[in-house]
Symmetry: C3
Amino acid sequence: MKLTLKEIASKIDGTVVGDETLEIYGVSSFYDAQLQDITFASDPKFLKALNQTRAGAAIVPEDFDDSLLEESKVVLPIIKTKNPKRQFFRILSIFHPPKEPSRDVANGAAIGSNFVCGCQLSVGSHVTIGDNVKIGDRVQIMHGVYIGDDVIIGDDTLIKPNVTIMDRAKIGSRVIIYSGSVIGSDGFGFTQDMSDLSHEKIVHAGFVQIDDDVEIGACNTIDRGTLGRTWIQRGVKTDNLVHIAHNVTIGEHSLIVAQVGIAGSTIIGKRVIIAGKAGVSGHLKVGNGAIIGPGAGVLSDVESGQIVSGIPGMPHKLWLKVAAILPKLPEIRKRLIALEKKEK
Amino acid sequence: MKLTLKEIASKIDGTVVGDETLEIYGVSSFYDAQLQDITFASDPKFLKALNQTRAGAAIVPEDFDDSLLEESKVVLPIIKTKNPKRQFFRILSIFHPPKEPSRDVANGAAIGSNFVCGCQLSVGSHVTIGDNVKIGDRVQIMHGVYIGDDVIIGDDTLIKPNVTIMDRAKIGSRVIIYSGSVIGSDGFGFTQDMSDLSHEKIVHAGFVQIDDDVEIGACNTIDRGTLGRTWIQRGVKTDNLVHIAHNVTIGEHSLIVAQVGIAGSTIIGKRVIIAGKAGVSGHLKVGNGAIIGPGAGVLSDVESGQIVSGIPGMPHKLWLKVAAILPKLPEIRKRLIALEKKEK
Amino acid sequence: MKLTLKEIASKIDGTVVGDETLEIYGVSSFYDAQLQDITFASDPKFLKALNQTRAGAAIVPEDFDDSLLEESKVVLPIIKTKNPKRQFFRILSIFHPPKEPSRDVANGAAIGSNFVCGCQLSVGSHVTIGDNVKIGDRVQIMHGVYIGDDVIIGDDTLIKPNVTIMDRAKIGSRVIIYSGSVIGSDGFGFTQDMSDLSHEKIVHAGFVQIDDDVEIGACNTIDRGTLGRTWIQRGVKTDNLVHIAHNVTIGEHSLIVAQVGIAGSTIIGKRVIIAGKAGVSGHLKVGNGAIIGPGAGVLSDVESGQIVSGIPGMPHKLWLKVAAILPKLPEIRKRLIALEKKEK
């Protein structure tokens, strides 16, 4: 595949500075790019280093100052556009279109009764689909997936290999669920028999609801509600190995990074970011736009817009100070002892 | 399905106060319940708010003071009983009985030689069972499960979709293993070649033993013993994404919450609780009834009944004090500097 | 199976002290061994306790002082050799040889077009292999595995049940991948639409490369590169539930312990050890031979040979001091207050 710079510019609402007939055969990162590739630079660090990429052309910000090119003797043509990174990935997706799956149902798929599906369904090998399942248009269900009874899936959703979706899950449109993830396992809830301190399983009668445009990473575990739903709202993205307990709500467009755990009944607001390995206790509220730092241990509510870090979780700026003092504790202790000696 | 309050009361050894002919059609939580539902209240907070639920009836503690009803002008009938929460979930399980699986072996299941099984076996689609496997009565093995050679499984055990059980595992009766879990992978043990510092794999000749009434959450990894067994004793419950290394023992009725990791050869006592994301080092002993707090890093033995929290793990009450002081470290440092200045 | 001590000694370059005609029927650990077993002792603690094992014989270090036997009235024969632990596991692997898989392709395996494979291929039940896949000699692919298009696998590699390997992965020879692991899921990368703060998926056009002699534990998630590769170099071993993000490199012979997470584009050197539950931020460099302690939070580069522990990550010796002071913070605060009072 090849595109001229002119063709590329037209796709990303950009303006070419330089030879717009140049042919581009691929897309690559700043330092890996070769002469036939296009790359991008949006960071000042990269914009100043344009003479160091071997790319044939670069996508740069709309307000990029051309005189910089002359200064650093850069000869490569550029395309100016808004949000070069975003546009770069648009071009990348043109050069690497997703492979179109075969729009059929593989031999041996086990499909239950009352199955309803839209057009262009793709079901891979070794799939099982339960009873009363309803699926939209252009859904792709890959190898080894299990879909329980009474599951609903919207249009254009992609379920990657070896995903498990238990009974009564409601999954929206344009959702992607990566391999190994388990949607709708029972929550970790028991009642205790005080006579022998054993734990009796309680029925988990609820379900998982995943709204449109959600992406669930690999090997996530999202438990069903005990009663009612565990709810992953529109546009949420989760990374790998994330645990979401029963009756949690995650608000629209929130990002949950790898190995995060969220305990039962906690409500996460909209556009929240929870960084890798952080843990959030149960029955808490995390407000809209809050940010929780990597590895933080959140034990109390977080207000909208607040940034919380550290163990125990505290305001981020405070944690930065605390984290800077922690390595100085041995010295601080010595100074305290010195003062005490003087005092005597 | 519907039950009168009288019928419900008889099932949970309770006493109705109010109209015992009232018909109940469902079960719901305190604030979600509708007029045809029954709910429960055991916490004083909820008992005082009985006028705020829209439920048709509520299960309350045996010693609940009826005069509270009048005070807060509550009109809904109640059922008094011991342990209302436990009884509520009993009623929930009556309204939501587990779906009876088809008691047969799906087409295409790959079953090895010398297979022995009890009555009413249920094997889902795309299952593989190795040689010399012995399975009890009413066992359910769902879609995509792999069971290796020489595995033994007791009665009434339920293996959810896409579980992997490797050779020689011994699994008891009434066990539930949730999707994505891997039982009996090799432990993380190597010997090092000092010439090139490479690591040589060692044979893991041991196995995993899971006793009766254990529940293993989704995406757990339980490694086999290097020699001998990794042993999950009777009544243990693990949450999701738990890692249990080779030759670990977990004592009866212990609870292991999500994303906990337990390193090799550690022995966890009976009725221990390890909260979410905690880590326990290898070759340690954690005594009966001990509690390990969320995210704690346990690097030394824990005595019976002790509560350990924090990083590094320390007695819980001490950790509460430490955790309260950590955010004050910047201020403490300033005060120390002020003292030093005065001293000069 | 049985071997005389003479036969065992010849296999491990050892010298028998005692009856070399003794027949050994099994291999066991120091305190579990019975009269027909051989065990090993390399630690002084065990060497002094040789009178306490019930084993029939023991493998001990080359420089073991025989007089210790007399002192403690030990009568069991011994084999002296270099690195007794390593040799013990060699003997263990002789008594427990890996089961030879059936060298054929199970019925119902779904194999794509242009499949190229070497001799003695073993493909288990319910496997799917995509188009243009190329596989070496003696490869074993177990139950439920998914292998995407354009994947390359070397000789003698073993893919355990229910593993997912996405398109274009390159996997070396003598690699083992344990169950539940996902190789080549998309990285956690998005561009943000500033108008509604939603996140737009970006194409992940890269791949995962796993070199020879690597072992990947159970339920690992290794994301593909956004552009270019995520690279697990020769001899690396990962434990269970490890997360490796897009474009990470892990250098030769490094060990990554359970539940570690490594964020995007970080480069880990050779022979690095990252202990359990540690997290390493993105875009960092960890030098050759570095060691990262359990649960450490690494937020900046780590130099070769450095040992880093704690949260935030700091030199290990410093962290030991800090960790010792943390439980004393309440007392330190009291002493500070006492000094302040005196000052007044």
